[in-house]
C-alpha cells in the first residue's frame, strides 16, 4: 500500500511537471512577450526595454527561464499581474475557496442525482423507465452547462423569485447580518450554480453508474444475498451498491477536469467570484500570467484529486490488500 502510494505520488508529480511544461511552452509559443506593449509605446527607450528584459530574465536561454519558472512555481511565486501589478497569488487566493465550494456542492448534486437515476434503471434494465431515463441522460449530456444555468436562473430567480443570483453573497447581509444569516445567504447563492453544474455532471455519472450497478446486480453473490433472506433493500444497498461504488471512485477522479471546465462557464453565468470568473476577466485584459496560474492550480488540483481517488479505491477494495 505504501509502495503503491509512493509510486502514485511520483506519477502525480510527473503529471504536474508535464502541466507546467505545457503552460511554459504555451506562453513562449505565443506571439510577443510581456514587453510587446512596452515596445509599441513611444515613451519607452530601447535602453529601458533592454533593462526591463534583463530584469524579467527574458534575455536568458530558454531552459534557464524554464527552470526559473519552475522554481518560482514551487516556491508559490506565480508572478505579478501585468494589468493590476498585484501578485497573482493575491488575486487567486480569495477565488480558490469559492471555486472549491462550488465544485464540492456540484459533486454532491452530481453523484446523488446520478445514483438516484441509475438505481431504478439497473434494477429493471431494458424496461420502459430504463429506456426513458437513458434517453433523458443522453439528452442532458448534450446540454450546454451555461445555457442550463441561464434557464434555471430565469425560472427560479427571475420568474419565481425563490433564489438570488449574482456574486456569492448579498452585500447587505454580508455587511450587517449575523453569522447564521451569512451562511444561509451563501448557501442560497450556491444552490443554482451548484445545481446547474451538478445536473449536467449527473448525466454522465448516471450512465456510468447504471453500468456499474447493472454489472454488480448480475454477480453470483447477489443471488447468494437473496438466497439467505436479506431484504431487497439490503441486497441493493449493502451488496450491489457497495460493489458498484468502487468503479465510481475512479469516475470521481476522471470527472474533475470536466467539472472545473464547467465551473468556468457556470461562474460566468452566475457571477460567482471564483477562479473561472477571474480567468475570464484576465483573458479580456490579456493578463495571461493570471490565466496560466489558474490553469496550473486547477490542473494540480485535478492531479491530486485523481491520485487521492486512486488511493481511496485501494483502501476501499479489500481485494487489493495483501492476503491474510
Amino acid at each position: 500500500m505504501i509502495r503503491y502510494a509512493a509510486s502514485r505520488a511520483i506519477h502525480a508529480f510527473a503529471v504536474v511537471l508535464a502541466v507546467t511544461t505545457l503552460t511554459f511552452v504555451l506562453i513562449h509559443a505565443a506571439p510577443g512577450d510581456p514587453l510587446t506593449g512596452l515596445r509599441e509605446s513611444a515613451y519607452a527607450s530601447p535602453e529601458f526595454i533592454t533593462r526591463a528584459q534583463r530584469h524579467m530574465g527574458l534575455d536568458r536561454p530558454l531552459y534557464v527561464q524554464y527552470l526559473v519558472y519552475l522554481g518560482n512555481l514551487f516556491r508559490g511565486d506565480l508572478g505579478e499581474s501585468f494589468a493590476t501589478h498585484i501578485p497573482v497569488w493575491h488575486l487567486l487566493r480569495p477565488a480558490i475557496p469559492n471555486t472549491l465550494l462550488l465544485g464540492a456542492a456540484a459533486l454532491l448534486v452530481d453523484f446523488t442525482v446520478g445514483m438516484a437515476v441509475a438505481a431504478p434503471q439497473a434494477i429493471r434494465p431494458g424496461g420502459r423507465l430504463d429506456r426513458w431515463l437513458s434517453n433523458v441522460t443522453l439528452a442532458v449530456y448534450a446540454v450546454p452547462v451555461f445555457w442550463l444555468g441561464i434557464l434555471l436562473s430565469m425560472l427560479f430567480s427571475q420568474a419565481l423569485g425563490w433564489l438570488p443570483i449574482g456574486d456569492i453573497r448579498d452585500p447587505i447581509i454580508a455587511a450587517a447580518g449575523t453569522t447564521p444569516q451569512k451562511v444561509v445567504d451563501i448557501l442560497r447563492h450556491l444552490v443554482l450554480p451548484a445545481a446547474t453544474l451538478g445536473l449536467v455532471g449527473a448525466a454522465s455519472t448516471a450512465r456510468y453508474q447504471r453500468t456499474a450497478l447493472f454489472d454488480a446486480l448480475r454477480q453470483d453473490f447477489i443471488r447468494t444475498a437473496h438466497a439467505k433472506g436479506l431484504t431487497a433493500r439490503v441486497v441493493l444497498l449493502r451488496h450491489a451498491l457497495r460493489n458498484a461504488l468502487l468503479p465510481t471512485i475512479t469516475l470521481f477522479g476522471l470527472s474533475l477536469p470536466v467539472l472545473f471546465s464547467g465551473a468556468v462557464l457556470v461562474e460566468s453565468v452566475f457571477g460567482w467570484p471564483g477562479m473561472g470568473t477571474l480567468a475570464v476577466q484576465s483573458v479580456m485584459r490579456r493578463d495571461y500570467l493570471v490565466v496560466t496560474a489558474a490553469a496550473t492550480i486547477t490542473a494540480t488540483a485535478v492531479v491530486v484529486g485523481s491520485a487521492l481517488a486512486d488511493l481511496l479505491y485501494r483502501v476501499a477494495d479489500p481485494r487489493t490488500r495483501s492476503p491474510a
Binding site: 434494465p125 452547462v145 451555461f146 473561472g276 490579456r286 490553469a295
Partner: protein, 279 residues
C-alpha cells in the same frame, strides 16, 4: 466492419439524423428567410416575439433569430468537423508513435498527455485565448483541434496494445514486415472502429466547447452568427425575450445529441460484448 455498421438499425437511424442536421445547417443560405447579420428594424423589431414572419423572433439588434440559428449551426458544424479531423489525425498519429517508439518516448508522451488532460479544457483554451489575439475560423479550428486529441491518443495507444491487435501484429511481424508498415497497414484498419466512435463523440464535445468559448466572448469575432454568442447576447434580457436564448440552446442540444447517439450506436455495433449491456 462497414457492413456491420450499416447493418445496425440504430447506426442507420443516427446517421440519418446527423445527415438531416448537417443538410439543414449547410443549406442555411437557402433556408434562411433573412440575412443573419442584417439589422431589420431597430424600432419595431427589437426583441420581437415569434411571429409568422419571424418564427423564432428577433434579437436585441432586430436580427432574425431563425436565420442566425441556421448560420450559427453551419459555423458550429464546420468548426467541429474540421477540428475533429485535426484532433483525430493527431491523436491517432501520437498514439501510434508512442506505441512504435515505446520505452522512454512512450512514457514521456503519455505523461504529457496526462498533464494536458488534467488541465480543464476551457481553462486551457482560455490560456491560448489570452496569448493569441485575433481568432478567425482557421485559428479556431487549429486551437480546438490541437487541444482535443489527448483522449484519442490514449484510446489509440490502448487499442494497439490490446490483445486483439497484438495477434495481427504478431502475424504481420512473422511475415517480416516493418513496424511502420504493420502500424499503417495492419493495425490502423483494425482500430478504425474505436477511432470512428471517438470522432463521432468528439464532434458533439467540440460543438459544446466551441459554444462555451463563444459564450465567454472568445469565439469567432462578432457579428458572425455563433450559437454560444447568441446565448450570451440574450442572457441579460432572457426574462423579457427567452426565445433569443432558448432557440440556439435547443439547436445545440439536438445537434450534440445526434452525434452522441451516433457515437453510442457505433460503439454498440462494433462491440458485440456490450450486447444488451448498457454502455
Amino acid at each position: 466492419m462497414i457492413a456491420d455498421l450499416v447493418g445496425s438499425r440504430s447506426v442507420r437511424r443516427a446517421l440519418g439524423a446527423a445527415g438531416i442536421v448537417a443538410t439543414l445547417a449547410f443549406s442555411a443560405p437557402w433556408l434562411s428567410p433573412y440575412d443573419p447579420n442584417e439589422h431589420l428594424d431597430a424600432v419595431e423589431l427589437r426583441i420581437a416575439g415569434p411571429s409568422w414572419h419571424h418564427p423564432l423572433g428577433t434579437d436585441l439588434f432586430s436580427r432574425d433569430v431563425l436565420s442566425r440559428v441556421l448560420y450559427g449551426t453551419r459555423v458550429s458544424l464546420t468548426v467541429a468537423a474540421l477540428s475533429v479531423l485535426v484532433s483525430v489525425t493527431l491523436g491517432t498519429a501520437v498514439g501510434m508513435a508512442a506505441w512504435l517508439a515505446g520505452g522512454a518516448v512512450d512514457t514521456v508522451l503519455m505523461r504529457l498527455v496526462d498533464g494536458a488532460l488534467a488541465i480543464p479544457r476551457i481553462l486551457l483554451l482560455l490560456v491560448i485565448a489570452a496569448l493569441w489575439n485575433h481568432i478567425n475560423l482557421a485559428a479556431l479550428v487549429a486551437i480546438l483541434g490541437l487541444t482535443s486529441w489527448f483522449g484519442t491518443s490514449r484510446v489509440v495507444r490502448a487499442e494497439v496494445l490490446s490483445a486483439r491487435a497484438r495477434e495481427y501484429v504478431a502475424a504481420a511481424r512473422s511475415l517480416g514486415l516493418s513496424r511502420v508498415r504493420i502500424a499503417t497497414q495492419h493495425v490502423l484498419p483494425n482500430i478504425a472502429g474505436p477511432i470512428l466512435v471517438a470522432a463521432s463523440l468528439g464532434v458533439g464535445q467540440i460543438i459544446l466547447v466551441e459554444a462555451g468559448l463563444s459564450f465567454l466572448g472568445l469565439g469567432l469575432a462578432p457579428p458572425t452568427a455563433s450559437l454560444g454568442a447568441m446565448i450570451q447576447e440574450g442572457q441579460s434580457f432572457v426574462y423579457q425575450a427567452p426565445w433569443v436564448v432558448v432557440a440556439p440552446g435547443v439547436v445545440i442540444v439536438l445537434t450534440v445529441l445526434v452525434f452522441s447517439a451516433l457515437g453510442e450506436s457505433l460503439r454498440e455495433a462494433l462491440d458485440p460484448r456490450s450486447g444488451g449491456r448498457p454502455a
